[in-house]
Symmetry: C2
Subunit: 337 residues, 2 copies
DNA sequence: ATGAAAGCGCTAACAA
DNA sequence: TTGTTAGCGCTTTCAT
């Protein structure tokens, strides 16, 4: 058995070179106050010993862990995983690592997750829940570390966030549908009790109706499906309401509705027009392809992380509510190009 | 300005109750050697002070961080995100947090990632790359902490791993296709230089051919598409080879091929049969739906994490090479039920 | 430019 | 059952 070589510590390096811990620490941290010749010797010893600073000890001494927490509903959901990828890439760029936690949008679990992350002394948190209950808000506000929302928003812009202008996006999409003569347009949301759906998407939809002089009908708003399978069931409800167009908050749900209608003999876009809003691969995989609001998912994550790095550095933000531009992509599920 | 209340430390608790640090530590860690009345007092103080143990200090003192690292190609890929979800859920169950790193299957980045995770003193690592180059292997073997592969395999079973029997799965699927009279069956892989493709999927495919007495034709093996878009290009190559059936390693690629053929007037499954192998939602979203090998993705991640917990506890593993059962799901893209 | 020394907040022998 | 005392490996004043 080869003897298990213990990891070298800063002390080993110092001893080998014949300098103090402080000096080694300085060269490791790129502090200028080290004579070049000393620096070289230390570097050489570090290399020879294969010394790797222990991040935990460092974290304890410096009170910075270079670790952030990411609290999200579900990695498995493409929308969130794309946001996460943006977060991760920028985090890596700035030498942060990301601790991931899935909450399934459950507020209790979110509170627990945040508490746990704080216990691990993360330097900051990216929060991706669409919900933001009072307990979660309280937890965040007492966190003591910066938190930024990605792809979400807090009431009264209480927290830094990056997303798109959901109100306008949904208003525009709905208006276009109305312009084509639709009277019964379904709005498919994820849940009635989250701000992003209730205060933004729904509001945009309602504004469009109002401008067009059409009465709002709560029967046309659906919000009980979050999976493809559940979407099939909900699609039956849409059909029962004789809607002629639908605006959906999620691509999988949109495809689910699309397939359901087509499987029941409807023609899309002739009998039903559909617009979705995340533009994931699901929207180009379906036949016809789905017209979609195109949110810059990766960028939302990336920008949120960039904001967080500034906040963690104690920098002031000139703008805490960032709205990234979105585009509208016309594909086969709608009638006009 | 409200005075920023500093987080209470174990010392504050000890002082408040009038006991030593050790006693507080004992109750926090559930050590039995504490009189009930003392325990109650400590618990009360902890509650009143809102004391939360600092995990970093703990990690330094105990040499356990209750944090694991997850090294994966890309969170954005549904296959990996499902594995990750399995890992995360079990990790959480055992009180571990997961540090996530995307490598895009790049071996240099994998080495860097592992090195970095070790620096952070993770207690173990779940590795998901399909590739496993010598440098990565070397890094893993010198890690000093347990590593288990999820959805992947190492040559010579050198590392603990959990996955399915890819050879048999691909052999079976190919054999079924051959039985239906196909002579030119395309095998679509991700890359020729990774073990999972070259040593398992390809071998299964070849075995089936051999048993059927059909010569292997390298021209029918494709491995240059990893995205939906690239899949479209590659589909043209398949078409040029007049294949009548395809076995694909990934759902998005499979849908891409399916769509390409149908968009060019082919009928599926009449003119072309397709079988895919991950059974993600992409396979039920397409029309026709895709027949697929069904790997228990979530379970692979979950079982891998469970193995890792045992390893981290110093337990012996009775079986280090776990093959989970897979099923074959027949859908519209193939001709037989 | 370099070193000495005091922590960071906690665990873990070892004593008592 | 409880307390004392070293550390864990590093950063960070403060001297020199």
């Amino acid at each position: 058995m080869a003897e298990q070589k213990k990891n070298a510590t800063i002390y080993d390096v110092a001893e080998k070179v014949g300098v103090s811990l402080a000096t080694v620490s300085r060269v490791v941290n790129g502090n200028d106050n080290v004579r070049q010749s000393t620096r070289d010797k230390v570097l050489k010893a570090i290399d020879e010993l294969g010394y790797q600073p222990n991040a935990v000890a460092r974290g304890l001494a410096s009170k910075k862990t270079t670790t952030i927490g990411v609290v999200m509903p579900d990695v498995t959901n493409v929308f969130y995983s794309e946001l996460t990828r943006g977060v991760d890439d920028i985090a890596q760029m700035y030498q942060y690592d990301a601790l991931l936690t899935n909450t399934d949008d459950d507020q209790d679990r979110a509170v627990t997750a945040i508490k746990n992350l704080l216990t691990k002394q993360v330097d900051g948190i990216i929060y991706m829940g669409t919900k933001l209950s009072a307990p979660v808000m309280a937890m965040i506000q007492s966190a003591g570390v910066p938190v930024v929302l990605a792809g979400s928003v807090a009431e009264n812009e209480a927290l830094p966030s990056v997303n798109i202008d959901y109100v306008t996006a949904f208003e525009t999409v709905t208006t276009k549908l109305l312009a084509r003569g639709h009277q019964r347009i379904a709005l498919v949301l994820g849940s009635r009790d989250r701000a992003i759906d209730q205060d933004f998407r729904l509001v945009g939809y309602q504004r469009a109706l109002q401008e067009a002089g059409i009465d709002y009908d709560d029967q046309l708003v659906f919000a009980k499906a979050r999976t493809y399978e559940a979407g099939q069931l909900q699609a039956a409800d849409l059909m029962a309401q004789d809607v002629t167009a639908v605006v959906a908050y999620d691509d999988e749900i949109a495809v689910s509705i699309l397939n359901y209608y087509q499987d029941h003999g409807y023609k899309v876009p002739e009998d039903l027009e559909i617009v979705t809003s995340n533009n994931t691969n699901f929207s180009i995989v379906s036949r016809p392809e789905l017209s979609s609001i195109n949110q810059p998912k990766y960028d939302i994550g990336a920008v949120a992380m960039r904001m967080l790095t500034k906040l963690m550095n104690g920098e002031e933000l000139t703008d805490t509510q960032i709205k990234l531009p979105y585009t509208l992509i016309s594909r086969g599920s709608t009638r006009t190009k």
